[in-house]
């Protein structure tokens, strides 16, 4: 009987390790495929090369990095205030019933597949930007042109997609601020709004920051939505109405028809993406656990 129990424990341990083992195998195989390109082409040339033109054997991913970062930054600019406002609404302002409505709305937003977001962007935002935003911009800058496939479209859709991440983690952090903080602040004569902005939000800052970092990771890693709406033009963008290609979109678009060498280059793009994401995740973890320890647990 005792041997059986021991065997079970070993079996469970193996299951528990599976996920970690998966990470290890994924890392190994992505690096195995991609590292030769990094070596032959030179890491500096690869990362800072300004031309991505696989048919000519040019693999500089600076335009792709610029594309990914610009779309992500745009998404954060829209997503952070919205997400934070929703989190404060849920935990501090809303009545029970309206909180419930917003909560299920945010849950549903998290459940909608990314390709559906992409399709919505393609059907509504892209023509919308071409028809309505462009004429407005042209009032200021006469030379502006856009096909509608743009950073702006990508940023708006990504902002919606990262909203659930930001809202749920921030709300958690805000709700777990000790009630004494709030009571003390109110007792000192601060009104509810001052208490929220000067006491509660600062006390929950580590959770809020890590929600933002995780949202950023989601935005950089997102593929199917951006591929349909950013235009996939590998060049460093000059304005928010320019088309860009992202790291993820390029991999997904070109993998199907790539030559062996081109494929290896795409794996190398995967390495860069992978490292960025893992670093962001570690940073989020670090902020949550190390900074401002009073808000969690």
């Amino acid at each position: 009987m005792k041997a059986f129990e021991k065997a079970i424990e070993k079996l469970l341990l193996i299951c528990a390790i599976t996920a970690t083992l998966s990470v290890v195998i994924i890392t190994l195989f992505i690096f195995k495929e991609g590292v030769s390109v990094l070596k032959d082409y030179g890491i500096v040339n690869f990362i800072f090369g300004s031309k991505w033109s696989p048919t000519n054997g040019q693999y500089g991913i600076l335009p792709l990095i610029a594309g990914s970062l610009s779309v992500t930054l745009g998404a954060l600019v829209i997503g952070i205030p919205t997400g934070l406002a929703c989190a404060i609404f849920l935990s501090e302002v809303a009545h029970k019933r309206s909180a419930k409505v917003l909560k299920s709305a945010v849950e549903l937003l998290a459940g909608i597949p990314s390709v559906v977001y992409g399709f919505f962007g393609l059907a509504v935002l892209v023509p919308g930007i071409r028809q309505y935003i462009l004429p407005m911009v042209q009032l200021i800058n006469k030379d502006a042109t856009t096909s509608g496939f743009s950073i702006l479209a990508g940023a708006i859709i990504l902002a919606i997609m990262i909203l659930p991440t930001i809202v749920s983690i921030s709300e958690n952090a805000i709700s777990s601020v000790p009630i004494e903080y709030k009571e003390a602040s109110l007792a000192l004569g601060a009104n509810h709004q001052e208490t929220i902005t000067r006491v509660i939000v600062p006390a929950a800052k580590s959770g809020i920051i890590s929600s933002i970092i995780l949202g950023m990771g989601r935005a950089i890693g997102e593929t199917m939505a951006v591929i349909l709406i950013t235009g996939n033009m590998p060049k460093v963008p000059g304005s928010a109405l320019d088309s860009v290609a992202t790291l993820t979109g390029t991999i997904a678009m070109e993998m199907g028809y790539a030559t062996p060498e081109h494929q290896k280059a795409l794996f190398a793009v995967g390495i860069v993406l992978f490292i960025m994401i893992v670093l962001l995740n570690i940073a989020a973890n670090f902020t949550l656990h190390k900074l401002g320890g009073q808000t969690n647990d």
Binding site: F4, E5, I8, E9, L12, L13, C15, A16, A19, T20, S22, V23, V24, I26, F29, I30, K32, E33, P81, T82, A85, I88, F89, V93, A94, S98, L102, E107, L108, L109, G111, I112, P113, S114, V115, V116, Y117, G118, F119, F120, A123, L163, G189, Q193, E194, R218, G221, T223, M224, L228, T248, I251, A252, M255, F267, G270, L273, V278, N281, N285
Partner: protein
């Protein structure tokens, strides 16, 4: 004594200044918060509404039961529904036992050592890896290295890895809600640890585990990038694990990016949204029952 009164007066003004203290800043603050909350709900309604209004009328019996023709430009999506079900089923069947048992290990057996922390951290990292990386990995490992080709097996294994963290987390959460007294009661009656887990702990958090499974299914159904690179995008009806398949989300992507047919694209998107709504509803129902039971 006078000192205390003075202090008190400093904090609480004598006249009722409270109404005046709500200045424009406060107004703007609340206005902004209500505005953003409203906008979020409206955005959700806009997305779902727009797609359903344009697509739901094109879903009929024929669309559901006939096979696609001309690259999906005409016909229905029968083979794609089958492919989606098949692939989702395979991934859940692979991931569920591993995920549940892993969660049991984390909550019931693991002691907080550095080693366990590392395993936990690995699980967290897995949850954050973007789907395209899973796709790349599945392509080079399952499709090429192990020689599974573009198939339901390759796609299912890749998806299983992706939903594993979701499952582990959900199961862990529900295991944590089982009161200690249950375990102590069972153990003191002479049951072994494993008997306690199988007969007492797991049954009492079944609905929590179920919620995790349903959420995993939701993720698998919606996944596109990883599936496209591992299960292929063949339009035929899959008959075996080694057959390639096209899922609904991949189909939607191909229709949308190639602009084949507006009607079929909206119909597919609607079906996908309806599926996600149903999955969410079931998950909510299960959770509600679970909460009621826990309270009783």
């Amino acid at each position: 004594m006078t000192n205390a009164t003075e202090t008190f007066e400093l904090i609480v003004p004598k006249e009722k200044k409270f109404s005046k203290m709500i200045n424009w800043k406060t107004y703007f603050f609340y206005f902004f918060i209500y505005l953003m909350a409203t906008v979020t709900i409206l955005v959700l309604i806009a997305i779902i509404g727009y797609i359903l209004i344009n697509g739901v009328l094109h879903i009929d019996w024929e669309f559901l039961t006939s096979e696609p023709s001309k690259m999906g430009k005409e016909g229905g999506i029968y083979s794609i529904i089958i492919g989606t079900l098949y692939l989702t089923l395979v991934s859940v069947v692979i991931a569920a036992p591993i995920g549940i048992l892993a969660a049991v290990y984390f909550t019931e057996y693991a002691k907080e050592s550095r080693w366990i922390k590392m395993i936990r951290f690995g699980t967290e990292i897995l949850a954050g890896i973007p789907s395209i990386i899973f796709g790349l990995f599945g392509f080079t490992f399952f499709v090429i290295f192990l020689g599974f080709r573009w198939s339901i097996l390759s796609g299912g294994l890749t998806l299983a890895m992706m939903i594993l963290p979701t499952l582990i987390r959900a199961t862990e959460e529900s295991l944590k809600t089982v009161p200690r007294s249950y375990r102590e009661g069972s153990l003191s009656l002479g049951a072994t640890k494993w008997q306690t887990i199988i007969k007492v702990v797991l049954p009492s958090c079944l609905s929590g585990i179920l919620t995790g499974l349903i959420l995993g299914i939701g993720r698998a159904v919606g996944e596109t990038a990883a599936v496209m690179l591992t299960a292929g995008s063949s339009l035929g009806v899959p008959h075996a694990l080694t057959d390639p398949a096209r899922t609904m989300s991949v189909h939607l992507y191909i229709l949308a990016s190639e602009g084949l047919s507006r009607e079929k694209t909206f119909a597919t998107a609607s079906l996908l949204i309806i599926l996600v709504l149903i999955i969410n509803m079931i998950a909510n129902m299960v959770t509600q029952r679970y909460i009621k039971k826990a309270k009783a």
